[in-house]
């Protein structure tokens, strides 16, 4: 179905179901309970899961399939965001033209950077992409300030032309929307002690991310995807088999750049304020981390990695010393202070330390990322059930 094998179709439907049920799945704890701060089912975070998941899916088409490690994908994210905000300013507050423009412009940008960077491979390719992204970041602060508005960031204004929209009647800034559906509007479902939030912006991002996932699934299973995997495996053999690896890698680079641009457009659609720091190398490194943590070259891995890192970033950074004190108040006073002091280094502003430790554990113990972890658990459970089946059979 949908040009997929039976197994992939089932896989796709599972992903769709999980994505649509996210507001439930990420809100397992009742609102008033002590564990409620571990809930991730609030709109801003769910949106980020979908958006960065989408970006990591695209990054994986380049890095996971061809093995070319780009350290400059944040540049495309930034270009997408700027393009989207300019569409909001000039054309309309409708998100569709904004994200289409974001994707196209990022694709064009990726074509230029990819054409130059792909003349080299390995570490030299990575350095070239990093250099281009850092140049874009610096230029956004200097030469391009008329476009990017420099350090204060690009934002909407009351005097923007917005030629397709009706003139503003109120004195407040308009909100991006989809034919009347405002991106920031939410509907809350009270179910006993639980509150579940359904947000228009999240569902819009989720639908786009599902489409992106479906497209990436098709690419993975296509002859084109086969060629990309062949490039990673043995580029020399590919060339002596009559295939030109250059256009294949360039196509993969542009496609992944367009995914990043689309993600940038969605970020701007959720919150139409863009600063140049979105293009900084730490942002490029983040998507590399997401892909590695989740599982390079696997379909689901990048999405899991993106969720994992965004969850750690948002949840661990919220925990502060007073929360820790309330957790450890049952300890004797001196011990309580010591324990809280130690844990405080890993939460709040120190959440990067937690992330770093988790990253090290995953890379050392599970080189295949979270997906490999899941596979190992599945294999272990299967073996266990096989064993019990084997012991019961002779008894019959």
């Amino acid at each position: 179905m949908l040009g997929l094998s039976q197994k992939d179709t089932r896989f796709l439907f599972i992903v769709i179901a999980l994505t649509l049920l996210t507001p439930f799945l990420l809100n397992p704890f009742p609102t008033d309970s002590a564990l409620a701060q571990f809930n991730a089912g609030y709109p801003a975070l769910m949106q980020r899961f979908a958006i960065y998941g989408l970006m990591a899916i695209g990054f994986n088409i380049l890095f996971g399939l061809t093995g070319y490690l780009s350290f400059g994908h944040a540049a495309f994210l930034g270009v997408g965001s700027y393009a989207a905000v300019w569409m909001f300013k000039l054309l309309s507050m409708n998100v569709l033209p904004a994200i289409i423009m974001a994707t196209l412009l990022a694709g064009l940008f990726a074509l230029v950077i990819g054409f130059i960077s792909l003349r080299r491979s390995g570490i030299y390719f990575s350095i070239l992409t990093l250099a281009f992204a850092e140049m874009s970041y610096r230029l956004a602060y200097s030469v391009f300030t008329p476009v990017t508005n420099g350090e204060s960031g690009l934002q909407l204004g009351l005097k923007d032309p917005r030629i397709l929209d009706a003139p503003l009647t109120s004195a407040s800034l308009p909100v991006p929307g989809l034919f009347g559906l405002k991106m920031n509007s939410s509907w809350t479902l009270d179910l006993g002690p639980w509150d579940f939030t359904f947000n228009v912006g999240y569902y819009f991002c989720a639908v786009v991310a599902i489409l992106g996932f479906y497209l990436s699934l098709r690419i993975f299973r296509s002859p084109f995807g086969l060629m990309l995997r062949a490039i990673k495996s043995n580029q020399n053999r590919l060339n002596y088999t009559g295939l030109n690896s250059r256009p294949y890698t360039l196509a993969a680079f542009v496609i992944s750049g367009m995914y990043a641009g689309l993600a940038g457009g969605l970020l701007a659609a959720m919150d139409p304020l863009v600063g140049a720091e979105r293009m900084q190398w730490t942002a490029s490194g983040e998507v590399v981390l997401m892909t590695i943590v989740g599982g390079v070259g696997t379909l689901m891995g990048p999405v899991l990695g993106a969720g994992f890192i965004k969850y750690a970033e948002n949840i661990f950074s919220k925990i502060n010393e007073s929360i820790l004190h309330s957790w450890f108040s049952w300890l004797p006073d001196g011990l309580e202070d010591a324990v809280v002091w130690i844990f405080a280094r890993f939460v709040g502003e120190g959440w990067h330390l937690t992330l770093g430790l988790m990253f090290m554990v995953i890379v050392i113990a599970l080189p295949g990322g979270l997906v490999e972890g899941g596979q190992r658990i599945a294999r272990f459970l299967r073996r266990k059930s096989d064993d019990s089946a084997a012991t019961t059979t002779p008894a019959e």
């Binding site: 995807g225 086969l226 002596y240 295939l243």
Partner: protein, 252 residues
Amino acid sequence: MSILEVKGVNKRFGGLQALGNVNLSVKEDTCHAIIGPNGAGKSTLLNCLVGKLIPDSGSVVFDGQSVLGRKPHEINQMGISRVFQTPEIFGDLTVIENVMIPCFAKRDGSFRMHAYEAVHQEKGIIEQAEAILADVNMLDKRHMHAASLSRGDKRRLEMAMCLVQEPRLLLLDEPTAGMARADTNNTIELLKEIRKKRRITMAIIEHDMHVVFSLAERITVLAQGTPLVEDTPENIKGHPKVREAYLGEAQV
């Protein structure tokens, strides 16, 4: 009718004259062996034929067209396939995927953006790949990872990848180097069968005289970058100059 015509090819690496005025003509539907002691320039010559190296002067004409200045993938698309000294295969892919890639290259050319088709629906390509795997007795291993194959099977797989393209000329760079005797004999049988069944023109570089005299119909002897003689295996065996330069005191 010769399919490959090498004329006056020179190649220097710094102070070393690797190839000096090499002339070579490979006739269609023959197996032509190029032999010579270590450092005679055999591999350099082969690399000049497939676009890895560009000769300093001279011409290399394949089927009426010059190959000089063309990239490896273009030369392959003209009809020259190459088997490497150590098998070059796609280790991370399965055996059948390894063979499907050259099938795609033959059908679609050096680049096609077929990102929206599905590999599992390419019935024609799959049939083609399975047929060639059956020919080299590897059909039962088609879902194995290529990296986990034995050395002999890797060689068979690489051969299958070249054959499925139906090349006009198959270049073999020491196809039995480092193989045990039994594997060597298997490879000889495989190559003989290919010659008989498919009538593919072959140019083979080889150290092992047993392999050369089992397969070759013409032999060119290279020494110090220059061709010494070109003749039939029978005449080469007894040729005094060849004995002196290459075979030495070895009994052939």
